[in-house]
């Protein structure tokens, strides 16, 4: 095709001598949403980073509008009109939202910046993406989802020819996703080429035109999304099909309450949170961005100091000491793997064993056992890594998330609170994780699952608590009648 806006061909890239991209290809037409699909670690983000100049390629050709592009710096890429929302946030925590949106392309005359203009312009973009905070808010004070919205605003504020979105919806809910799709459709009209990466199969069909599938750094094929199905794509991606049926849980013990939360308060963010968790139950938490689900979880485990109410674990009041609660068997998997989940500069093994060192210290740590257990999880979760000693920051996003999951699985806790556990995880691996959750239930453990992915909530949970503006709006039984629409209605407007 000669009229494509972007053509990448025969792209190679290796890290420390390990090839990651092997003759990878991608062709994008103007005005199309081109989906890039592949398992965790397939090389999608790497391909994108080569396009944006964040990495240098080791051979291959990049053409834009038929013109070959040499190796370029991120700044040059931006100038050409390549705008990228990276999978890992690239925001500056101590600068306000509006400055983050325009960093590197500040408004103003000569050397000076015009803060006022920047703020006004920022508000326009923020409104577009549905970010309802003051533009002066510091980015570090935002929730993960809000940060994602800042990234989107930042990307669309560029004058773009090619827009790349690397898992933009992994951390946001339906409402914001819909706004994003509106924006994308607007941009399509301007004949912009859009590359879209996501592991949420459902939305691909909603937004995408064509889809390129990658496996192990290689090009597998390109298909028209209107002519294919989820199963077919999954097969191209992981080489097998994956079932998507509702999980039916017979193990739930309604008489045995393991966790009882009563009138929990947290400053002015949470009001009167009350719920019970039963033995062998998966309790889902749904809600829009900023509804306060994360705060509930953090107050329960003691990562935040609650300002009122009580949390009872097996009929005894829980202290607000996090290490003590972890020892008792209540663990929290953070939604923010970069800030709170992982020590990025440490190895896969060190991250997995970190919460579990007490088990391994007798009194000296037994390295063999550590290696053994790390490799065990690398296998069962199929974490794609060179070895257990690889630094986590060198893993792909989804594989990093698997490390976070591994570290909490290994802790063998009684109550697991998983906050967006499958954020950025591919369909195949998602299934493994669901299976592991089922195993946990079978062992008599209980799970609270916070997720922005309603498909997953409906598939896994026994009951669903829907939150809105710091309160639990309702708790719904997950029976055959429950649909995404019902949950969304409660999340957005409340019960009335």
């Amino acid at each position: 095709m000669s009229d494509c806006i972007l053509r990448m061909s025969n792209i190679n890239k290796s890290f420390f001598g390990v090839p990651v991209l092997k003759e990878a290809r991608l062709e994008v037409l103007p005005g199309e949403v081109h989906v890039l699909l592949g398992e965790n670690g397939a090389g999608k983000s790497t391909l994108i980073k080569i396009l944006s100049g964040a990495y240098t390629r080791e051979g291959g050709l990049i053409e834009i509008n038929g013109q070959a592009i040499p190796a370029i710096s991120p700044k040059e890429a931006l100038n050409i009109g390549i705008s990228v929302i990276y999978q890992e946030f690239n925001l500056i925590p101590d600068l306000p939202v509006y400055e983050n949106i325009f960093v590197g392309k500040e408004f103003g005359k000569g050397i000076f910046v015009d803060h006022k203009q920047a703020m006004e312009k920022a508000e326009v973009f923020m409104k577009k993406v549905g970010l309802n905070v003051s533009p002066k808010t510091l980015v570090k004070d935002l929730s993960v989802a809000q940060k994602q919205l800042v990234e989107i605003a930042k990307a669309i504020s560029n004058h773009v020819k090619i827009l790349v979105l690397d898992e933009p919806t992994a951390a946001i809910t339906e409402k914001e996703s819909d706004m994003l799709f509106e924006i994308i459709k607007e941009l399509q009209k301007e004949k912009i080429g859009i590359i879209y990466i996501s592991h949420r199969m459902k939305e691909l069909f909603e937004i995408g035109d064509r889809c390129t599938v990658m496996r192990d750094g290689e090009y597998v094929g390109t298909v028209n999304l209107s002519e294919t199905s989820e199963d077919e794509l999954t097969k191209m991606m992981v080489g097998r099909t994956v079932n998507f049926e509702k999980n039916i849980n017979n193990l739930k013990d309604n008489d045995q309450v393991v966790l009882e939360v009563n009138q929990l308060q947290y400053r002015n963010y949470l009001k009167d949170i009350s719920f019970q968790l039963h033995k062998g139950e998966i309790l889902g938490f749904a809600g829009l961005v900023g509804a306060g689900r994360t705060e509930v979880a953090k107050c329960v485990v003691g990562a935040l100091k609650k300002t009122g109410g009580s949390v009872k674990y097996k009929n005894t009041e829980l202290s607000s000491s996090l290490p003590e609660n972890i020892r008792k068997g209540i663990v929290y998997l953070s939604e923010d793997r970069k800030e709170e989940g992982l020590v990025l500069s440490h190895s896969v093994m060190d991250n997995i064993v970190l919460p579990n060192l007490s088990k391994l210290a007798k009194p000296f740590l037994r390295k063999k056992e550590m290696v053994c257990c790390a490799n065990n999880y690398i296998q069962t979760l199929r974490i794609k890594t060179h070895s257990h000693l690889t630094e986590v920051q060198n893993l792909s996003g989804g594989n990093q998330q698997k490390v976070v999951i591994a570290k909490w699985l290994y802790s063998e806790a009684d109550i697991c609170i998983f906050d967006e556990p499958t954020r950025g995880i591919d369909v195949g691996a998602r299934e493994e994780i669901y299976n592991i959750m089922k195993d946990l239930i079978e062992q008599g453990k209980s799970i609270i699952m916070i997720s922005s992915d309603l498909v997953e909530i409906l598939k896994m949970c026994d009951r669903v608590a829907v939150m809105r503006e710091g309160m639990i709006e309702t708790i719904l039984e997950n029976n055959a009648d429950l649909t995404q629409e019902i949950i969304l209605k409660y999340a957005m407007q409340g019960g009335e």
Partner: protein, 321 residues
């Protein structure tokens, strides 16, 4: 409502440091009153700022470097080197103005070497500037074989001791002019905002199109230039060049920045407050000396007051836990 409250809180927290300075002033003024000493006189206020002037100029450079997440240990030695270098130039009868320019160039050169090694060489700033500190001190000793220089023309002294309107020491003006400029640069220019972004998240800054290496080099160059200016000021203040001059100044400069709330992890802090930090340090020295507190106690009290001032400043952070 809440937003308003938050705003006031925010303002207050940047005000804590001024409050701290105010309290220190008040305590000294009262104690001195009781002891029958003069503390709160206009002349003494000028003294305090003059005594803070050199450190506060160095502290500008220190702050910039710290905001990018680095550190500059070389400024004290550069002060010493510039004294001898400038001294030799003046002795060779170069016009003061030209000597000044050459000194600033020399300072910029040191800074440039530091910046290149940090940004392109990937050597940690601590090591680079520790090395530069030793090289500059060695050169200060070497180029005049360890000898101090004296006997400068009167005009040199006027560079620092001249009084504007016969009242305000010019050194006080330098401080306010430089700080006014740097506050504008940091707050209202692209360069300033880029410095914050580099320190806040270097990868994000790079991927957003900020030329991070250039920014880092420029910041070290500026630090070198301010060190040179400090060196010239010290030379003029003493009309004497000592190859050992400036030893330990880097620590005072860094301390001023950190007391003023510049975070050593980078990306954060208001540069104007650095001046307050420097003035707090010199107020302490001045006040304790006027009260004739024995030297040993002075050290102890200074240590305790610095920690207490910052401790008070962090009240909010402690509460937010």
């Amino acid at each position: 409502m809440e937003i308003v409250k938050k705003k006031i809180d925010g303002k207050l927290s940047t005000l804590t440091i001024y409050l701290g300075l105010g309290v220190i002033f008040l305590v000294f003024a009262l104690t001195c009153k009781i002891l029958g000493k003069n503390f709160l006189t206009l002349n003494n206020l000028f003294n305090i700022i003059t005594q803070a002037s050199i450190i506060s100029i160095l502290a500008i450079g220190a702050s910039l470097v710290i905001v990018t997440g680095g550190i500059d240990l070389s400024v004290g030695s550069i002060v010493g080197f510039i004294g001898i270098f400038g001294g030799l130039l003046i002795k060779a009868e170069l016009p003061l103005f030209l000597a000044g320019i050459l000194c600033i160039l020399a300072g910029a050169l040191f800074g440039f070497a530091n910046g290149m090694l940090v940004s392109y060489g990937k050597v940690p700033p601590f090591i680079v500037t520790l090395g530069a500190m030793q090289v500059a001190r060695g050169l200060a000793l070497l180029i005049n074989r360890g000898q101090p220089i004296s006997g400068f023309p009167k005009s040199l002294g006027m560079v620092m001791s001249f009084k504007v309107f016969g009242l305000i020491p010019v050194s006080v003006l330098y401080v306010f002019v430089f700080y006014a400029i740097i506050v504008v640069i940091m707050g209202y220019t692209k360069f300033g905002r880029h410095i914050y972004s580099v320190g806040g998240n270097i990868n994000a800054a790079r991927l957003s199109g900020v030329n991070v290496k250039k920014i880092i080099v420029m910041v070290y160059v500026l630090s070198g230039i301010f060190a040179a200016i400090g060196g010239i000021m010290l030379l003029a203040r003493l009309t004497y060049a000592d190859p050992n001059a400036g030893a330990g100044y880097e620590m005072n400069a860094i301390a001023s920045a950190v007391i003023g709330g510049i975070s050593l992890s980078g990306g954060k802090g208001k540069i104007g407050n650095t001046l307050v930090g420097a003035i707090i340090l010199s107020t302490l020295t001045c006040g304790l000396q006027i009260m004739n507190v024995p030297t040993y106690y002075q050290t102890i009290v200074t240590g305790i007051v610095i920690v207490s001032a910052v401790f008070a400043d962090k009240k909010k952070e402690r509460q937010s836990e």
